[in-house]
Each structure stands twice: as structure tokens, then as C-alpha cells.
Amino acid sequence: MSTVNARIFPNSYRDSVELMQIAAEIESLPGIDRAGLVMATPANREVLAAAGLLSEATASAGPNDLVVAVAADDEGAATQALERAAERLAGPGTEGPSETTRTDARTLAEGVAEIGANLALISTPGTYATAEALKALKRGLNVFLFSDNVPVEDEIELKSMARARGLLVMGPDCGTAILDGVPLGFANAVRRGTIGLIGASGTGLQQVSCLIDRYGAGVSQAIGVGGRDLDERVGGEMMLAALERLGADPGTALIVLISKPPSASVAELVLTAAGHVGKPVIINFLGGDPAKVTAAGLIPAATFEAAAATASAMALGRPVSSDDALGIVATDQGAGPAGDDTSSRAVHDAQASLVPAQWRIRGLYSGGSLAGEAKLVLGASLGVVAAKLHEIVDLGDDEYTVGRPHPMIDPRLRNEHLAAAAADPSTAVILLDVVLGYGANADPAGALASAIRTARDDAARADRRFAVVASVCGTSSDPQDLVVQERRLAEAGVILAPSNARAAVLAARIVAPAAVAAGMHP
């Protein structure tokens, strides 16, 4: 158990090199994890806090006080270190800075000068991201803005500047892009082809591109524009700019536009522009009105799977057909639909294991767009009112990711929620997405499988079972390998669906009888 302790030296000053040397000296003492010696200004206190070095002892320190803070294995080691620091501060000063090891500087300027870069990928904390992006735009670079927590006012400013300069700002909070075959962010290893994708939806873009790969077609470009691009305030600036680019791209034969529910006026603007692009355009605006899409001479798709299947069929010259009200499209290449024998058996087995109190779906998502799609599908399957009784959480939302990694990178947050969901006696189905790709966790299914087994064991002790339904968004060329990841989940007893939409349909089918019996569904 680590302890943090500190001592204040009021109105005290020693030169900064000496303070660094004292810090290094006491950090080398046994039982000391880290140390800080600085004037207790608010800025320095923030740094100390971030380093876990702020203790109650420093609460009264002001900007003219020197604070010595240590994190130690135990109180004794901390006290010893503070006494050593006090001795050093009372003694004569030392001289001379120590040498540091030189490493190669990596700058935007070097990127431009040395490799002729035309794009900057920015992944700083949101507070700093705007300045970095402005800087890149000023240097004539397109921007892939991975950072989240960027204010919408900044986004508007950045996109306005980009439009004026003929550049793209992909983001903020842009998870994915594939540009000239180069994957950025969480992107997956998908086959190259003639389908151009533009998405205001990171995992939506991933799901569509992965399914296109699964169906045997390929992607020319995948341009993420950030989840707020089709917000009223942003006005679809980058979707319109990207549309122009793909319209002019000779390698792109047809275009898919993907978004969470857009603002009505922006949607209209985009549909009008798409209608004039001169190439077939498939519109996958979750919850959008297909009649408006059709009226604009465009092709509607209600789900990511429908968008991928339609685009793939068109690119490969195959017929397109829709098999249900969700717009889920059956193709020869698609993995088994939700109603096939295998999944029917899985649904039946899951239903048989539930007790009457278990009726609820708990969706724990790492992808915001996939979570949005799941809600939509549950609404279509169970009825909008009944669907709201179930819970679909986007754990990648800003409210969960401030100061901690995205759940697609670090599985701990979702595993905590999974344990809580499993402990809820009303939980019948835990619905999950597993997103693969270059930037994602190296073994997300492995981490989940372990948490699922533990949760199942805990539930079994209370004589309860629950079903886990998941889809894996990825390809067999991804670093994590779709086949390997699906196998890990199957071994943990997870019911697998080939797409997120079908996973949600399966979950709905499992709970429907129990929910009706419990009086939760009409």
C-alpha cells in the first residue's frame, strides 16, 4: 500500500537544478516510488496531483512555499525521505546540471520537410488538440483529430479554416480512417476496392468496412469526419468536403455515407449534395427517413450491415435484396442470418436457462455508433417503448473516457460494468461489441472471455445463468485476427452474430418471451 507524504518549507527558495538533484536523490532511497520538489503554485500542484503526489499536508501551501512530496511504500520510508530532503535543503548547494540522453526530435515540421507529409494525426488531450490542429492546418496539412473532449466551438473554427484552405479535418474524436490504403486510428485491415466511405461515426465506419471485406468487396477510401459533423452547429462541413473529394476520386465507384442521427437541416443539405455527386450514394443515417433518401435519388440503408451488403453487392455486380424491416440484407457471402438453425438453437438454449425474473438486456458497448445501432434494432424488434426498458451503454463516451483510455484499448472499464450487470438478477442477456483494428487492444476477446467466465461463476453460485451475445467487428487480416477472437468468445460460451445488428436481434429474441411474462413487454 503506497503512502504519500509531504513537507512544506515556507517562503523557501533553492535553485531548480538543485531541487531536481535532491528529487533524484530521494527517489533513489529504498521504498521511495517518486518525489517532487517545487514551489506550490496551482500549476505545480496540478502536476503533483497528476503524479499522485498531492497530500493533505500540502493543502495550506501557497505559491511562495516550497513543497517536498514523496510517494513511498510506507510511512517510515516517506518520513526518512522527507528528512533527507530537509537536510539537503539546509545544507550547501550543489552545482551543475546533469547530462540527459538525446533522442530524435519528431515534429510536424520534420514530417513535412523529410517525408512530404500532407496529413497530421493529432492525439493529444482535448485541451491542447485545437492548437495542434490549427498549427497543422496553417502548414497546409489535413488533420486526423483522434483527440476527444474538444469543444464544439473549436471544431467549428477548425473546420471552417479547413474548408477555406481546401483541407480536411477528420474529427475530433475521429476513431477511424483509411486513406489510400493507410489505416489510421482504430481502422481495420480491409481489402482495397472501389467503395468510398464517409462516416460521422467511428465504429459505424469500422463495421461497414469490415463487412464489406467479409462480403468480398473492398474500400477505396474511408474518411471519418467526427461524430458531431452532422450536428446543426457544425453543419456537415467535412462530410460535404469529403463528398466532393470522393466524387472526384477516380478510384471510387460508389459512396456510402454513415452517421448517427443527424440534424434534420444538415441531413437535407448532405442529401442534396449527395444527389449531385454523379455516383451512386448509399445513405446510412441511423434512424433517418428512407423516403427522403429515396426522394433525393439515393439508396437508403437502415443498418451498417445493410449499407455494407448493398454497397458490396453493387460493387461486385450482384443483386441486392432486403429480407426484413430492419433493412438487413441477405447475401451469399454473409455469415448466417439471425434466424438460421444454429442461432435458433442458441436462442432456445439461452431462453431455457433463464428464470422468470430475468428479462433485461444489458448492452455494454465500446463503440458509440454500434450502441446507437443496437438501440435502433431493439426498438424495431421489441417496440420503441419496450426497448427503452433495456439498457445500452456506450462506455466510449466522453463521460467515461476523461483521464482514462478508451474501452477499445483498455478492457478494464467494461469488465467492471460486466461484473455489475452480471450481478443484477434481472439481467437475461449481456450484449457486447468487440472491435478489432490496428489501434485496439491486442486481445479484446481474451480479456472479455476471462471476465465473462468469472461473472458466470459468480452468478452460478446464486443459481443464475445469463446469456452473452456478441459480434466481433474486424477482419481475419487484423492484428487480432477475427477468427481467433471469435473462437475465444465461443469457447467462453458467447453466442456470436456476424454483425452488431444481428447480435441485437438475437438478444431481443432471447428476452422477448421472458419480458412478456414479466409484464415488461406488451
Binding site: 535553485d15 531536481m20 514551489m39 505559491p63 546533469s98 540527459t100 498549427k135
Partner: protein, 292 residues
């Protein structure tokens, strides 16, 4: 030698007694209602100060923190220590830094020509402490917590100054105030250096720090707060005047020695100020800057 800003400070402070704040080997700081008044034995003129000779070690002349001092146009006294500094024979010096309009373009052009070479000299000679790693450009993330915080804030500041956005510059400056080690934390020294360069080249963004100094006394040390307020008003230490005159002057060969003198100020303040000056000159002269 006495800064002509000192009588202003003394007159404003008349309503409240002055007190000795701290005593070092050759520096005394005295609190006034308008910031610190500094008496220094070396290092040239200070915007808030008086240069005097009070012997080899000022800690041995009977001064203690909290002692009451008084001052007038004619003298500064600490009666309990028997200390009296007469101004009558002192030379007056103006800390205000402003370039003659007709020389600004010439100076900017000179800087543009020699910026890269000067940076190379500074890189080789900068201190490893403070924000020196930013000047030395050997700064992987994770090695120094303060540098890690400073770097993106400085990058944001540079962009803001490049696009002439004083509000955004002040926001970035706020993140630097009070950041880092030393009696004048590194972030404050950098800001002073940047302001000096902007004033020297008469840029419209000069004075941006004024937008960030509201309540600054609660956010940084008393000395740093005082120097920031002077910087916002275009007033700087004599050594900064000399450094800038050399960096924008006609003699290329004088630059390495000027850099050496600059990095020798204090433990890290010189390097931090120099970092700010180089950033400020680059921004003011439109030299492409790569602090990413």
C-alpha cells in the same frame, strides 16, 4: 542604479508598510502593495529593482523576513537593521523595451537570417534543467512531468501568437504561469522572454500576458508575479535588453557569447528566458517554428 519603475511602486505602496520578504546572498526582496521590490548586487538592472553594493553576503547584515521597511523618492530604509540606501547618486535606468519603428523590419530580417544558427548554439549550451529540454530538443514525453505539461501549452501559445489571437495566447499562457521549478517558475520565465521579443519587434500581440495576469499573485511566486506584470507592461531586466540587442544586432559573432551569458542567469531562469526569447523572435519575425 535604479529602475524608473521603482518610484512608481514606492508611491503606490505608500498606503501600506513595506516588509522584508526574503534575503539571499546578494538579493533582498521587499513586499509592497504593488509587488516585490528587489535590491540586487549583481546581474544588472531589474524592472522592479535597485542595484546596490551591500557587501559580500547580505544574509549577514542583520535583515530578517518580516522587518518593516520604508521608502521615499530619496531613500529606502530598513530601520531595525540599520540599512539605508540613498537614491540621490543612483543612475536612473528605464526597463521599457521598445524598438525604434524604423529598425523593426531590419531587426526582423536579421533574425530570420540567423534564427536557425542561433537555435543551434542555444541547443548546445542550454541547461538541462527547467524547460531546457525544450530548447535542447531532447524531450521525450514521460521524462519530466513539468515539461510534459508545458510542451502542448507552449505549442498552443505559439500557434495563437502566429495567428495573432491574443485571447487564445492568454489562455495558453495561463497554463504556463507558475509551472515548473524555481523562485521564478520556468513557465513564467518563458513568458517573460516571449513578451520581451514581441515588444522588441513591436508586434501587436505584445502585452498578451496582461490578459493572463488577473490574480496572478495566487498562481505563482511573488517575484514571478511581479516580473510578469512588468513584462505585460513592456518592462524587462537589463540583461534581456542586452540579449535582444545582440540577437537582432549587426554582429553575428557576438551571438554565442550572448547565449552563454543568457544561460548563466540563475540556475534555469536564463535558459527558460532564452527559450521564450527565441520563440518570441521566431513568432514576431514569422520564422517557422517547430515546437511540436
Amino acid at each position: 542604479m535604479i529602475s524608473d519603475a521603482v518610484p512608481r511602486r514606492i508611491s503606490r505602496a505608500a498606503v501600506e508598510p513595506l516588509r522584508v520578504q526574503s534575503i539571499y546572498r546578494s538579493v533582498i526582496n521587499i513586499t509592497t502593495a504593488d509587488g516585490l521590490l528587489t535590491v540586487a548586487g549583481e546581474g544588472g538592472g531589474l524592472p522592479n529593482g535597485i542595484v546596490a553594493d551591500l557587501g559580500p553576503d547580505w544574509r549577514a547584515i542583520g535583515l530578517h523576513p518580516g522587518m518593516v521597511a520604508d521608502a521615499s523618492d530619496a531613500k529606502l530604509r530598513v530601520p531595525d537593521a540599520g540599512l539605508e540606501i540613498e537614491f540621490a547618486g543612483a543612475s536612473r535606468w528605464s526597463p521599457r523595451l521598445a524598438a525604434p519603428a524604423e529598425l523593426v523590419d531590419v531587426a526582423a530580417a536579421r533574425w530570420t537570417r540567423r534564427a536557425a544558427a542561433t537555435r543551434a548554439v542555444a541547443r548546445a549550451r542550454a541547461s538541462a534543467g527547467g524547460f531546457g529540454p525544450l530548447l535542447r530538443e531532447d524531450v521525450p514525453y514521460g521524462r519530466d512531468r513539468y515539461v510534459d505539461v508545458a510542451r502542448p501549452a507552449l505549442a498552443a501559445l505559439i500557434v495563437a501568437l502566429e495567428i495573432g489571437d491574443r485571447r487564445r495566447a492568454a489562455e495558453a499562457a495561463t497554463r504556463l504561469i507558475g509551472l515548473g521549478s524555481g523562485l521564478t517558475p520556468s513557465g513564467d520565465d518563458v513568458l517573460v522572454g516571449i513578451e520581451a521579443a514581441l515588444h522588441a519587434l513591436a508586434r501587436p500581440t505584445a502585452g498578451f500576458v496582461a490578459l493572463a495576469t488577473g490574480g496572478v499573485e495566487a498562481r505563482t511566486t511573488a517575484l514571478a508575479a511581479t516580473l510578469l506584470r512588468h513584462a505585460a507592461a513592456g518592462e524587462f531586466a537589463e540583461r534581456l535588453h542586452v540579449l535582444l540587442a545582440t540577437l537582432m544586432g549587426s554582429d553575428d559573432e557576438a551571438i554565442p557569447a550572448a547565449i552563454d551569458r543568457a544561460v548563466a542567469w540563475g540556475a534555469t531562469s536564463g535558459t527558460d528566458c532564452l527559450l521564450g526569447v527565441l520563440i518570441g523572435l521566431d513568432v514576431a519575425a514569422g520564422v517557422h517554428r517547430a515546437l511540436d
